[in-house]
């Protein structure tokens, strides 16, 4: 009996500690929120929250996809280029070729997926380091978009498109936020509850164990890159919906913003450890930082500096809590 009691006591400490570790991103987020609430009367307004949601939607969606890639031990630098190129195609399909909107959406998601699959194939079959493979396609996809358009934006003449991805409001929630929420639930389920998500974590955690267990690690990795491409295209809808244009030059920092959100969410760059809930918190940290500093009237340049510092601090906290 005594033994179980002491066991319980240490359990409580362990549970609290685990909670602290698991919630550390959330704690950073709350602290930032409290800080900005004190500093600005506008921060805590519902309208402002909707604003933050709209701002982070595209990065959050990209970061969901990135969570899978990073959990297998990979990375994808090309997603900004995929986003830009697919947004250009979106403009053409709708405005130039007058495609049906739903057919366009399906086709664009497929194209994004194919571009991601090229990354995956390079990594898995040509055995190119993920960083190098996606660095290469980052240039290639960006170059294709710029060549095809001469660098000029392509208008997207579809009010419905704009409503779905940017302007619409459903039960008081802006559509980009709603889309993000749906994808959040889907990705969370996929990573933590399905065989595929299991395989992703196993491949990143110990590829030898995965191999012995008969997990097709090549296919698993390939799918994460394909899915990443698809998510980049989806994020592209939100961006081009807001701008009503497909723009070949957008998304230059998109890939690194996604990586930052994933890392802020506690996913290990080395692979094996990743959570979607962490990633959304990471994306929100970036969003709150951005929004709060804008409310305080600071420049974009200052925001970049603060963003960098927050990333460093988060990683240090991560290392320290993990070492114990």
């Amino acid at each position: 009996m005594d033994q179980t009691l002491t066991a319980k006591k240490t359990d409580v400490v362990a549970i609290l500690w685990n909670l602290l570790i698991n919630l550390r991103s959330l704690i950073i987020l709350v602290l930032l929120g409290v800080l900005f609430t004190i500093l600005s009367p506008y921060f805590l307004l519902a309208r402002n929250f909707a604003n933050i949601g709209m701002q982070i939607a595209s990065v959050a969606i990209g970061a969901f996809g990135m969570t899978f890639v990073i959990t297998t031990g990979g990375i994808d630098l090309s997603v900004g280029s995929i986003l830009a190129l697919t947004s250009v195609f979106t403009g053409w399909f709708i405005s130039t070729y007058h495609w049906n909107l739903w057919a366009t959406i399906a086709a664009i998601l497929l194209i994004g997926m194919l571009m991601g699959s090229v990354n995956g194939a390079g990594v898995v079959y040509l055995k190119i380091e993920p960083l190098l493979m996606t660095l290469a396609t980052m240039f290639i996809y960006r170059g294709i978009g710029l060549r095809l358009t001469g660098g000029r934006p392509v208008p997207i003449n579809s009010p419905l498109f704009k409503t779905i991805f940017a302007g619409g409001v459903v039960i008081g929630i802006p559509s980009p936020v709603l889309i993000t929420l749906v994808l959040l639930i889907f990705c969370w389920f996929l990573l933590s509850k399905t065989i595929f998500g299991y395989n992703v974590r196993a491949v990143g955690g110990n590829i030898e164990a995965a191999r012995v267990a008969g997990i097709n690690f090549s296919l698993t990795k390939l799918i994460t890159y394909s899915f990443m491409g698809l998510m980049a295209a989806a994020a592209g809808f939100i961006v081009s919906g807001r701008l009503a244009h497909g723009i070949p030059t957008i998304g230059e920092t998109f890939a690194l913003d996604c990586v930052a959100a994933v890392i802020l969410g506690g996913t290990a760059l080395a692979g094996g450890r990743g959570t979607i809930l962490g990633t959304i918190v990471g994306a929100m940290i970036m969003g709150v930082l951005n929004n709060g500093m804008t409310l305080l009237g600071s420049q974009y340049y200052t925001e970049l500096i603060v963003k960098g510092i927050v990333i460093c601090v988060a990683v240090v906290i991560d290392n320290v809590t993990r070492r114990r």
Partner: protein, 502 residues
Amino acid sequence: MSILHPPVLSLRNVSKSFGGVTVLENINLDFAKGMVHAILGENGAGKSTLIKIISGYHIPDSGIISIEGKEVFFRKPKDALNAKIHTIYQELSLCPHMTVAENIIMNDRRRFGRFVLSRKQYIRAVAEVLAKLEQQDLDPKRNVGELSVAKRQVVEIAKAIIGSAKIIIMDEPTSSISKSDSEILKNLILSLKQAGITILYISHRLHEVFEIADTATILRDGNLIETVEKEDFSEDRIISMMVGRRLVNVYPKTETSFGDVALEVKGLTDEKGGFRNISFTLRSGEILGIGGLVGAGRSELLEAIFGLRKTSEGHILLGGNRIRARNPKQAIKLGLSFITEDRKKTGLVPYLSVQENINLVNSQFFNRAGVLMAAALKKIAKHYKERLRIKSRSLAQMITSLSGGNQQKVAVAKWLERNPKVILFDEPTRGIDIGAKAEMYTIIGELVSKGIAIIMVSSELPELLSVTDRILVMRQGEIVAELTSRETSQEEIMRHATKLRN
């Protein structure tokens, strides 16, 4: 083989070679149901190749493997798993960021869902298995990364049980766990045995094997020497089978006279528990050998002397002076050199030339305001290329294009310009051919004749016996014997290296 225990697994004439080197030759072996069968042998005897064949990692060149009389052919590890053979490797194959339950179901995940895993179902199944192993206190929801090595082994065993393994192979299971944990493991093995599971137990700790094994097979140089039943276990006999009768005195030994004490180590204890309370002295011109099994703490000791590892107790005197700041830079300045075990990883830089590798250490000294003194360095490289008879077309040649023996000479050459007083030599002839070995021994002889003292760690007993003057035998982090090389034998060294602590 009694009728009660028909062979669950048998090997017939299994052979395997890698690149023309035969690693296993005509192995015939039967494993009985519900028995603990130990595989014994020195490093390089072929133990790991044998288990890798049984577990589907390697495909044998010839021979037949059969399970319960039926011939099988394993192309990949999964095939062996499907045949209910589960292997627990020394570096456990677990995912640290996944939970105990998630790790346990890894091989059998498909049983818990086609697309979505049923957490409820697998947690229940895992709890059942842990109960069967009397490990209910292990929380299935904890992350494996938080567990001790012993508990991770429990996870591995549970992984085997949930897959209803018939044969479990354990590769050196106790090499990295404490004594009390190995006791727990022993009990686990006995209960597995009672459940009719066959255990293949790979170890070179004889006392453990004697305690738990029913049968032991001794391998040496890829050959099966003998399979011994429990009632015939005898330490002396098994050791002599492991060691064999090898030619001993083919190694040239130059006689030198010893000078003053060059190095003195007093009560040195590793911070991380790699070795404890190590004391010895070394005179100039002397070659001190350190014998023992892999994992006995030998390399760790050399690393600590060189300042690469932190120690919690004890001190080191070099030429009578205590070394205070302990880091490699300081060690080099004071006249220590360290030729590491793995020259590819820690000895040489693969993309640099022969000359640049010879000057790896010298470059830190031969520069003016950070600019390398090219002419001087070239001269040095030339000098040592001749002195150590390094065979390369030019000094500009890439180091990787040299043979293993010549690479090793470069690894030695890089230290000599510093005029070392003591050279730490970890496995001086690993992976080089017999001719190069003889040359390396000659070089060692030349070095000691100049008054340099050498500490040499070696797993090759004949080499240890004939090259050194004195041998310290380490076991589980401690020095357990000091022997005079000329008066001892391979058997005596092995006996000290494997014996149960009194």
